[in-house]
Symmetry: D2
Subunit: 296 residues, 4 copies
């Protein structure tokens, strides 16, 4: 029996365009090729994917199963030929979506995945830390796909203002930093660019790591724990500083990125002295940031 | 002792502007004046608030405690003089934020709150349903504040395509709707407008209710349960239809809203036959939607 | 038409008993009578309720709508006669559930609600803090209902071990506490007792507050912020200490509570130096705790 | 410099025992050996781990870093010699914890991980579905470790009661099932047993799959979608039925499991006609269930 549900093709009675129609929360492991030992554990990234196209006013329904077919094909293919990065995978998916949805002019892909990486404590012990990778792509029929690569990194901040206040209150200025409140900070950095521009997620993670008062670690024996605390208080940072130092590290380290790369950074501190969070964000282009840097 | 931590005023070594700096997740009850019996239970709405201003490149830190002071003042004042709506409160907060942060040019307020309202089942029984209110405001120094009012409403959809397929597969066309898969749908509608334009959240809830295959209810005895199922299957809707019918109801019901009102609608179906969700959204102005309506 | 769906009464083909059958996540505002000014904002608590009874092997289905009717009746009644506490409400619901489900021998009610309360900063400024109330009850047909009252309180801990390590590493012992890592700690305390025993949630909140390195506050101007940091570092506490000091405060402050009161305390620190949390919990009776206290 | 923070060894001033002290939310990839093609994608499972020991009244602090060392060692070892199952890994961890924490008498390990597996649609198409694996272990010094293996599976239920009501309301009894409300159901099954007893997680997933009105699938083209709807409505199930049929499948399929195996099953339906969920659970031993089966 050939089933021909043509409900999707009807006009329906309410012919408005829709900006995004698709599926959200599709979980799928994807093989990504990375070098070195960590490959053994990170061969497949467990991705959560949201995939959409637009829908013209003249069509009642989008063929949602085609979105899942595109996801499935990409994941299966990755078993034989690993993808080179989630952002490149997202860009490929956008192109396939526009082929499969002939009525659509725009395609959108959002991907997140947990990612693990080896690191070193201040005293050189091996640790293994968790991050989140963020990848997106947006395709417009007839134009080059724009892709987004991003990372979420957890670190810590020690507050410079409370530190100064405490110094005054205790009349202590003894040549080493005094106590302050400190807390987890979650920092996200994303870059949006043409699909032929390439940035390494690992490099972005390193860059964000250097913006905290101190990175944080899964395993800290006594001396490392003390050193992390000393490092953080010797390098006190506001939630604003984390965002700004990330921007500075980006401008300093990525001289080759085009001016039209869109930058988003957000830093959120889970304040130890409050029940709410502190927050800072910046949206800009690389061009904007370079001009601001030049003016400093 | 007068403490003068001036850390925030320093330039710091990385003078980039920041788009938004503030506090997130501040919980606060606010009294809102509403008519009728439900007032007894809904007098205070438990709000979650995110409040930001921008920060110029020349200033190291934003005075975050001023954000909390603005929140606190608004909430305290509401005990004596209830606010007229969360979106108006958000607009007021934007204005106060620009007074308290003399260095800022932009202020942003995001508020959400649980909201309960009486309703009636198909057979007229009283029920009490839960919704989410969404309120936002954005202020630019020297310009009129723009505010956003929105609602999140839960309803249900029955799939028209599966219904047609099943009809074909079972060769059944017996004068009443056949089975299909059906599921919870969460629909959000927000309108962004000048602060002197007014829309009732209750009206938006009603409007979204009419876009589902059927509303859903906390309490359904046998006949009401059967009727909800029959209603939903007699009115099958895609996730796209929920978004579009919401847009249609909006254009039809709000002839007086200015063309520059920004409309956002999103509909998400927690598909019973999949582990992932189906999704549809539209971003447009009232002017866009009116033009599309005229072309149909 | 009288509809008589008797599906629930059939035996079904798999006659196993079920321990709990019911509804979860029902949201409902309930009026609770409290003294003082905060009443204006806290008149109604927005509760999330899970309500269950057991089901004998001989019955196919539980009448779930009866659970919602019990919830609805309690909430409506509270508009005229406010409940005296969520735990007493939960106990009343258990009794009603056993009346409405004549086939059940056990009833279970779980309730949580956000709760706001006035507080004072170290320098005496007014603040308004958020807590979570926890209430439960379990009824067995023919026996006295047992009820649970509990609170979730957010505070902060400063680590005593890192503080000592830093002191050694910096060779500093200058008469005031040195820096350490500090972080948000979320502490839950619940007491389960016969329904005629009464404990005030406000008292439990106070008791938990005294177990942290320092309470935390929504609004801290400079001197208060410095004082909170100084207080926390002068009173360093492990995650274990928070649980134990809570137990100590309980034994010291509640000499009148029967030995058979079941105590649960859990303390979770959102470690600033790690991406994971530290955790401590104790399950015991008041009798156990008194014996341990006597042995110290 | 040898740092000797002995803070943990002090008695402290509040010598109560603690039931569980440890770390929560440690994320770690672990290699698990599984057969077949899916191995390529599922080689490493991204685990979230909570690891605790008890703490005697005489010791101030637990050595939390030892918990992380145990986790780290197990994960690193798995790269060379994959673990045979998460529940066996959890049991091994309990034994190691009791070695490393010489003062503890109890060890607890909780692990969850996303898990993907190939499946077939009703018409035989390949799909790839997501599950959650649950593994736990509890060790008491001097006794055999007990371990828990469990699965979380998402399927769908169609309501038998609404189906009967609709049949009566529409006076339709035409030889095929009529419409009903249907929705996602999340079912968890866990078995707790001595560590030398072995059960396959894949078998538990299959067993739970057969308890729904129908399994659900990531990808359903038209005929498969129709068939899933028809299957579900031909096999209507209450939330109670899902729990009970799981128990029945377990008793029928696991004749070899000892009577002292502890069984927990919970089924939660995200009701399409309500904003809240329906819920059923059973706690029992295999012996209990066998006796109840014999009495039917």
């Amino acid at each position: 029996m050939v089933l021909k549900c043509d409900v999707q093709y009807g006009k329906g009675d309410t012919g408005f365009k829709l900006t995004k129609v698709g599926v959200t929360g599709v979980r799928k492991p994807v093989l990504v090729k990375r070098e070195g030992k960590s490959n053994k554990l990170n061969g497949a990234l467990n991705c959560s994917m949201d995939v959409y196209v637009d829908l013209p006013a003249t069509q009642k329904g989008s063929h949602l199963s085609r979105n899942v077919e595109v996801i499935k094909e990409i994941a299966l293919t990755s078993i034989e030929v690993p993808v080179t990065g989630l952002e490149n995978m997202a860009a490929d998916m956008c192109e396939k979506l526009l082929v499969h949805h002939e009525y659509a002019d725009n395609a959108y892909v959002d991907v997140t995945a947990e990612y693990f990486r080896e690191s070193k404590t201040p005293f050189g012990k091996d640790t293994f830390e968790i991050y989140k990778l963020i990848a997106r792509a947006q395709g417009v029929r007839g134009r080059t796909v724009r892709k987004t690569i991003g990372v979420e990194v957890i670190g810590m901040t020690a507050c410079p203002c409370a530190q100064q206040t405490v110094t005054e209150m205790l009349c202590c200025d003894r040549g080493f930093p005094v106590m302050s409140h400190n807390q987890r900070n979650v920092c996200i950095l994303t870059l949006t660019m043409d699909r032929d521009v390439n940035v390494e997620a690992d490099d972005l993670i390193d860059l964000v790591h250097r913006s905290f008062s101190s990175p944080t670690y899964e395993l800290l024996k006594r001396d490392d724990e003390g050193q992390v605390v000393i490092n953080a208080h010797g390098n006190p940072r506001f939630v604003e500083d984390v965002a700004r130092v990330t921007l500075k590290n980006l401008v300093d380290g990525y001289g080759n990125l085009p001016d039209d790369v869109e930058v988003f950074v957000k830093s959120e501190s889970e304040e130890s002295i409050h029940k709410h969070n502190a927050y800072a964000e910046r949206t800009a282009t690389m061009g904007d940031l370079r001009r601001e840097k030049a003016e400093q």
